[in-house]
């Protein structure tokens, strides 16, 4: 009994309830234009690129750090990819993609090295400056132009293709990542070490966790994931401008926090992340059809984000106060 109770106390259930509620609300309101199949198609827009970045961000949030440069990292990587490929005249496309991934890793590595070398500095400040630097480099490379002309398999098959005419190929790509990440984060010693660093970095170091090395590794990994997200985004949009993926870091942080991660570290769940991505898709698509307005969409995400974080805090505070009152009464009786 106790076990079952504990199982249902997980954060993820809130998200499940919210998903069901949102889906029921909108399918009731919008009818045929809001069905499961149509939602599956929209996952291309709302899950894939943000999802990859959110995975990386979540790992960093677990460590207790923050990285607001991933949008720029994605932009720089796909810029390099587009310029290297030069719509067929430059390098072969596979090499260009590898180059993009490499750029992502290098950007992440640079962040990681700076964060571990200068511990006095808050990661937010470091990644704030690298955010400007990476996008600045992309700006210098591309200027005001946009680059495109990617091979058809990339911009048509990957970007718009579907398996059995229902499931987008992109969605399959990211869904494959979740079991892998679940295993790494929640089932390996490596994952436990990440949580240990986020909970208490000194304790983790004294118990033999190579904190710096792990941090650099995670930052590099986050850069790689950002580059992958950027590549998927490019396959959907078909062209690259230096402003591509602006603001994605904030979306990714919002998704990760909604999924149960905390910016103070030591918390995070891969399942929660997946659920919060699904919730975002249901909500965003419904609002988009109902109001066709990106501002109202953002407004509701803001409310959701704060409400979801605020409500547990308030209930905890009330519970703590009642506990205190009870104890006081008990001691008064004695």
């Amino acid at each position: 009994m106790e076990k079952i109770k504990k199982f249902f106390l997980h954060w993820e259930w809130i998200l499940v309830v919210l998903i069901v509620a949102t889906f029921a609300f909108f399918s009731n309101k919008l009818g045929d234009s809001y069905t499961f199949v149509k939602l599956l198609d929209q996952t291309r827009v709302y899950i894939v690129d943000v999802g990859f970045m959110a995975l990386g961000i979540m790992l960093i949030l677990i460590l207790g750090d923050i990285d607001i440069s991933i949008g720029s990292t994605a932009a720089l990587s796909v810029t390099v990819m587009a310029v290297a490929y030069k719509s067929g005249e430059g390098l072969p496309f596979s090499v260009s993609i590898l180059l993009a991934l490499l750029v992502g890793i290098v950007c992440g590595l640079f962040n990681g090295v700076l964060v571990t070398r200068f511990k006095e500095l808050f990661p937010m400040i470091i990644t704030l400056s690298t955010q400007t630097i990476y996008r600045g480099i992309a700006y210098i490379i591309l200027k005001d132009q946009s680059a495109g002309g990617f091979p058809t398999w990339f911009s048509k098959r990957l970007g718009y293709g579907k398996v059995f005419d229902v499931i987008p190929i992109m969605l399959l790509c990211i869904l494959l990542m979740f079991p892998i990440f679940y295993f790494i984060v929640h089932r390996t010693a490596f994952g436990r070490q990440l949580f240990a660093i986020g909970t208490n970095i000194n304790a983790a170091r004294y118990s033999g966790v190579r904190t710096d090395r792990l941090k650099v590794l995670i930052f590099a990994g986050s850069g790689l994931l950002a580059a992958i997200g950027g590549i998927f985004l490019t396959s959907r949009t078909g062209s690259v401008k230096y402003t591509i993926a602006t603001g994605y870091e904030m979306q990714a942080i919002a998704v990760a926090v909604l999924g149960g991660a905390s910016t103070s570290g030591g918390k995070g769940s891969v399942i929660g992340l997946l659920l919060s991505l699904i919730l975002m898709t249901c909500l965003k698509n419904g609002l988009m059809i109902a109001y066709n307005d990106s501002f109202i969409l953002n407004l509701s995400i803001g409310v959701l984000l704060i409400a979801v974080v605020l409500i547990p805090n308030i209930t905890n505070a009330i519970r703590a106060r009642e506990e205190l009152k009870r104890r006081r009464q008990a001691s008064a009786v004695q």
């Binding site: 937010m124 630097i133 600045g136 200027k143 103070s264 803001g302 704060i306 974080v309 605020l310």
Partner: protein, 345 residues
């Protein structure tokens, strides 16, 4: 004895102790570099223009300083600016349509409205952060979405244009009092007010105490939650004012007014020596930090670099923040090492 002691103070100790000196040096070097490329840069008019151009940034950065001092952060300020500018703009428009042009709302009233809207936004941020115990980044990330959303709902998708604005409102960032622009004067007033508040008022000193060690402050009897709330309200008021200044300067209010501007503001604070972990920072430093960004923004187009200088601006800004914060850390480390060595001997 005294003489030798004076001599033994190395340059970098001075630079660290008085961060403002190193910042002034950086600004002078930047001005010198630009002047070497383009002698037209070094003129009183240009310098006054740079100060005028940086005024809004400096006002916002001073507000951000208060927030950073208590160990919080506010990335929702562009949202606050957009909302306050939009509400003020719509009030102006409604009034102009209703009556004739001459009976427009008085400027002081408009500014008061804008600042109160900002104060309300700051209050919401502060309440959620201080009393709801939600992390500042998460809160203000959420509220920035919310403020932009409300701006959009209020505006009904319409921007406010020059024709909707009253003459006094358009002039309030353009007029000059004996050669000094109003914006500069407002900046000086705000900076002076905040400096006095932070140095001579108990509530201002409490901001430093809360940011340096929140537990100690709590035990000492400081109402830490109230201090945090106060810092966010100050930020909100100044963001409201900043929004109006941008609206008047651009003679246009759109729903996405100044997206991404919060990063410039945080950068100005960090370059100026404020710490994101709280408790450290001075108004003078933040002003110089804002001026550094202003010199870069205005100097780069005059550098006649290869191609369009606009493209280089972002990269150089990013590098400058990085160099400023990293060099500060390195200097501090070196000073601590010297300090330890001296004590050992």
């Amino acid at each position: 004895m005294k003489e030798s002691e004076k001599k033994s103070i190395p340059l970098y100790t001075l630079l660290i102790k008085y961060r403002e000196i190193s910042l002034i040096l950086i600004i002078l070097i930047l001005v010198a570099i630009v002047t070497l490329r383009n002698p037209l840069f070094l003129s009183v008019d240009k310098m006054l223009f740079i100060i005028e151009d940086t005024a809004t940034l400096a006002i916002l950065a001073v507000g951000m300083l208060c927030v950073l001092l208590v160990g919080s952060i506010d990335i929702s300020i562009p949202g606050i600016m957009a909302l306050s500018a939009m509400i003020t703009g719509i009030m102006m428009r409604n009034h102009l349509v209703a009556g004739d042009v001459k009976t427009s709302l008085p400027l002081a009233y408009l500014i008061l409205i804008g600042m109160s809207v900002g104060a309300l936004c700051g209050l919401i941020n502060g309440l959620i952060i201080a009393y709801g115990n939600v992390l500042p980044i998460v809160t203000t990330l959420g509220t920035s979405y919310i403020f932009y959303g409300i701006t959009h709902i209020v505006s009904k998708g319409q921007a406010v244009y020059r024709k909707d604005m009253s003459e006094a409102f358009i002039r309030f960032t353009r007029d000059a009092l004996s050669g000094v622009n109003y914006k500069t004067l407002i900046m000086i007033a705000v900076l002076a007010a905040v400096t006095i508040f932070l140095t001579y008022f108990r509530a201002g000193r409490h901001l430093y105490a809360v940011g340096s060690n929140i537990e100690a402050a709590e035990i000492r009897g400081i109402k830490t939650k109230r201090s945090k709330l106060l810092a966010h309200v100050i930020m909100g008021v100044l963001a409201g004012l900043g929004g109006l200044m941008f609206a008047s300067h651009d003679t246009k209010v759109t729903q996405d007014l100044k997206t991404g501007y919060e990063m410039y503001v945080i950068a100005a604070c960090v370059i100026g020596g404020a710490s994101v972990t709280g408790g450290v920072g001075k108004v003078s430093g933040v002003l110089l930090g804002a001026l550094t960004i202003g010199v870069i923004n205005n100097g780069l187009p005059m550098m006649r670099l290869v191609g369009n200088a606009e493209f280089w601006k972002k990269l150089i800004q990013g590098l400058l923040i990085l160099v400023a914060v990293v060099s500060n850390v390195l200097l501090q480390r070196e000073m601590r090492k010297q300090d330890l060595q001296r004590r050992n001997i």
